[in-house]
């Protein structure tokens, strides 16, 4: 089959690889009908996530048709149409039973490595470095889905692929980020980053009852999309983020702040250069610029929610502000499986149509061009879906 593989910094290629096989009894093989490039794939593309190996198959947002099931698969059968969650979860451990699926204790064969870095390991993830299991990803014609009864969610016909595909990651990720803010009537939210996750965070905040959402980015087309979702916007190239937020919120600050940017944040000024240099010298893994801004801008006693990906040990985090302002931090990889059913219901009820975020449709073998386009935000690119 054809698969999009990682070969180094800004080097991905679509190559011929063997078809996947059933390796564990609870596996299913899915023939992929639609897959996507995620913003977090760009961290891999730029070489910021350690433990990638040449030839790793990328991709963790995919859906398709079940073509084979292992002997222990009970709920799924051949022919089912499914969306696959990006975290791999066993369904039987302490965390899975509490629906904290991204913290599954049994799905990362390389847990030893994550334990050395983080103290404990998160769940395995498709196509996202060997630190989270080294699992082959879904930017391919077929994928093997371990613990398929837990991770593959059956979708009835009637909805287009593009309407349900994002249940695999970015819709629940934006939704969980907003849910983590424990939104109360009248709340004002600020969302840093108007990429796909930021867009879903904006819309989810309104679904969960926010009064106002302020979205922050620098690309006009992304700010425009956020405005279409009901947000007010700040272009940080034109105005200072903190001052503008204070002006817009009567000096109190947003009730909750969502960092939908993560480790490759951009900004202006000496602090950005400081992080960029430290990152280049491998002295710091992440550029926590947005996290700093969010902590300083958030109102006293508010919540900072972090769906953006971080990987390491970071500098100059204003812990003093965190403590003295009595802030709450909520974060984590998304417990996707927990959100499948309620979010599908919202799609069916017409409360949201996730396909609004798609700006580009390409063939799988155009994936390398897609990564380049997405990275450089050429052609107003916000979200690319790929068809095998």
């Amino acid at each position: 089959m054809k698969a999009n593989c990682w070969y180094g910094k800004q080097d991905v290629r679509v190559v011929d690889v063997p078809d996947p096989k059933i390796l564990n009894k609870s596996d299913a093989i899915v023939k992929i009908t639609t897959t996507a490039i995620c913003g977090s794939d760009l961290h891999l593309y730029n070489g910021f996530i350690p433990t990638m190996e040449k030839g790793d198959i990328l991709g963790h947002e995919f859906m398709g048709e079940v073509v084979e099931v292992g002997s222990e698969v009970k709920k799924l059968k051949v022919g089912d149409r499914v969306v696959v969650a990006f975290p791999i979860s066993c369904g039987a451990c302490f965390f899975c039973q509490r629906e904290m699926f991204s913290l599954c204790e049994n799905s990362n064969p390389n847990a030893w490595m994550a334990e050395k870095l983080f103290g404990h390991s998160p769940a395995g993830i498709f196509g996202y470095s060997h630190l989270t299991g080294g699992f082959a990803g879904g930017q391919a014609e077929f994928a093997r889905v371990p613990f398929a009864d837990v991770g593959a969610f059956k979708i009835e016909n009637g909805l287009a692929d593009e309407q349900v595909l994002f249940l695999s990651d970015i819709f629940p990720t934006g939704y969980m980020a907003a849910e983590n803010c424990d939104i109360k009537p009248g709340d004002t939210m600020a969302v840093w980053g108007c990429g796909p996750v930021g867009q879903f965070a904006v819309r989810s905040a309104f679904l969960l009852g926010a009064e106002r959402v302020i979205a922050i980015d620098r690309f006009p087309e992304r700010l425009r999309m956020a405005e279409e979702g009901g947000a007010e916007t700040i272009n940080y190239e034109e105005a200072g983020v903190y001052d503008t937020l204070m002006e817009m919120t009567g000096g109190r600050g947003p009730d909750s702040c969502i960092d939908a940017v993560g480790l490759e944040a951009h900004a202006h000024g000496p602090l950005y250069l400081y992080d960029r240099v430290k990152q280049a010298m491998m002295l710091e893994l992440d550029r926590p610029i947005v996290l700093r801004q969010a902590i300083l801008a958030c109102r006293n006693g508010g919540t900072v929610s972090i769906p953006g990906v971080y990987g390491g040990f970071d500098d100059k985090i204003p812990v003093g502000a965190l403590m003295n302002k009595a802030l709450m931090i909520r974060t984590g990889q998304t417990h996707v499986q927990h959100y499948f059913r309620p979010l599908l219901d919202r799609i069916k009820n017409g409360e949201i149509d996730p396909s609004f975020v798609v700006t580009h449709r390409m063939r799988l073998d155009e994936a390398p061009k897609g990564y380049d386009l997405f990275l450089n935000k050429h052609d107003d690119c916000i979200k690319i879906v790929l068809k095998p």
Partner: protein
């Protein structure tokens, strides 16, 4: 590593030469070090690192001449100097806890290996003054021996190894199953190779005795007979190897109901003599075959078998390269 038992003394913080005996939770005797203080030796080696490092940075040409190497290697020498200083500062700053100090001492051993390799290359190149290079190599080899001994002794004090060269490991895992279920599975020793990666087979000969075959480096196998020394159903199994074993070992596994109905805490204590002695254990540690992590990985697999019925793997999946998994990272799933 989880250590919760009361009455367990590790004697880590002792200062100066002294003699200690303590008992751990399973009644194994442990001894401290008499007379010799490896911490002081480590400090000396730390200052030596800084001195040598400064010399390498300040006068790289003089130093290359002294060890008989021709040509300008200032850049390389300055890099080596920075490595030396880093080790030195680490040792001097890392006196407590002892584990940290041991880590920095191992960094010296690594540095020694690098120095020896470079000197070896210089000897082969033929462009160097052979006599001086040989003398320098001998000097480095001497220091290497001291570093190695010191690191190993610190390791012993750190609780990983005992005076007679045995390796001690304590690990725990919480499993979402009842003690009864876990005990039943473990007590049937023929199940153990399913999750203990280094075991090839266990043959049960009678109610208390069994024969064990395990994989050893370089495709060899090691074998031993074991007897059960204590068997409390649903609570504890303890065993030890019998006379004539390739690997002398003893151990116990406990099954304790976790608070709040959250499954069972499984705790393993093991003690064994590695086949090649302490040096073998040290080399294994450098190669990533740390016994602590081996047991930890085994318990992780035990948990997987008990909670999900099998061990998740990636071996055999597709990839855009010759092998399906990575040699560097996926050791837990590679057979």
């Amino acid at each position: 590593m989880v250590k919760t038992q009361s009455g367990e003394s590790h004697g880590r913080m002792a200062k100066g030469p002294q003699f200690r005996i303590s008992r751990d939770g399973d009644g194994w005797r442990r001894r401290g070090i008499k007379g010799l203080n490896e911490e002081k030796i480590a400090l000396g080696l730390g200052w030596f690192s800084i001195g040598l490092g400064l010399a390498e940075i300040a006068a790289p040409r003089g130093l290359t001449k002294l060890i008989g190497v021709r040509g300008d290697h200032s850049g390389l020498l300055r890099t080596l100097g920075m490595r030396e200083i880093a080790s030195g500062i680490g040792i001097l700053a890392g006196r407590r806890p002892a584990g940290l100090l041991q880590g920095w001492m191992w960094s010296r051993v690594g540095g020694d290996a690098m120095d020896l390799a470079l000197l070896g290359a210089a000897l082969k190149s033929g462009r160097s003054s052979q006599g001086r290079v040989v003398a320098a190599t001998a000097a480095v080899a001497g220091v290497t021996a001291l570093d190695l001994i010191c690191s190993l002794k610190l390791g012993r004090r750190d609780g990983a190894t005992t005076r007679r060269g045995a390796i001690r490991v304590t690990q725990a895992v919480t499993i979402n199953r009842s003690p009864e279920e876990l005990y039943r599975f473990w007590r049937d020793f023929q199940n153990l190779p399913r999750f203990m990666k280094h075991l090839k087979s266990v043959q049960v000969t009678d109610d208390r005795h069994s024969h064990w075959v395990a994989k050893a480096p370089a495709g060899r196998t090691v074998e031993w007979d074991a007897e059960i020394t204590e068997d409390r159903p649903n609570e504890l199994i303890a065993w030890r190897s019998l006379e004539g074993s390739d690997v002398e070992n003893m151990g116990s596994v406990r099954f304790e109901r976790a608070p709040g109905g959250r499954g069972t805490v499984v705790k393993v204590h093991m003690r064994y003599n590695p086949p090649a002695g302490l040096i073998g254990a040290g080399v294994a540690k450098l190669l990533g075959e740390d016994p602590e992590w081996q047991i930890k990985d085994d318990l992780r697999r035990f948990k997987q078998v008990m909670e999900t019925g099998e061990i998740i793997t990636t071996e055999g999946q597709p990839a855009g390269r010759a092998s399906s998994t990575s040699w560097r990272y996926d050791r837990a799933v590679r057979s």
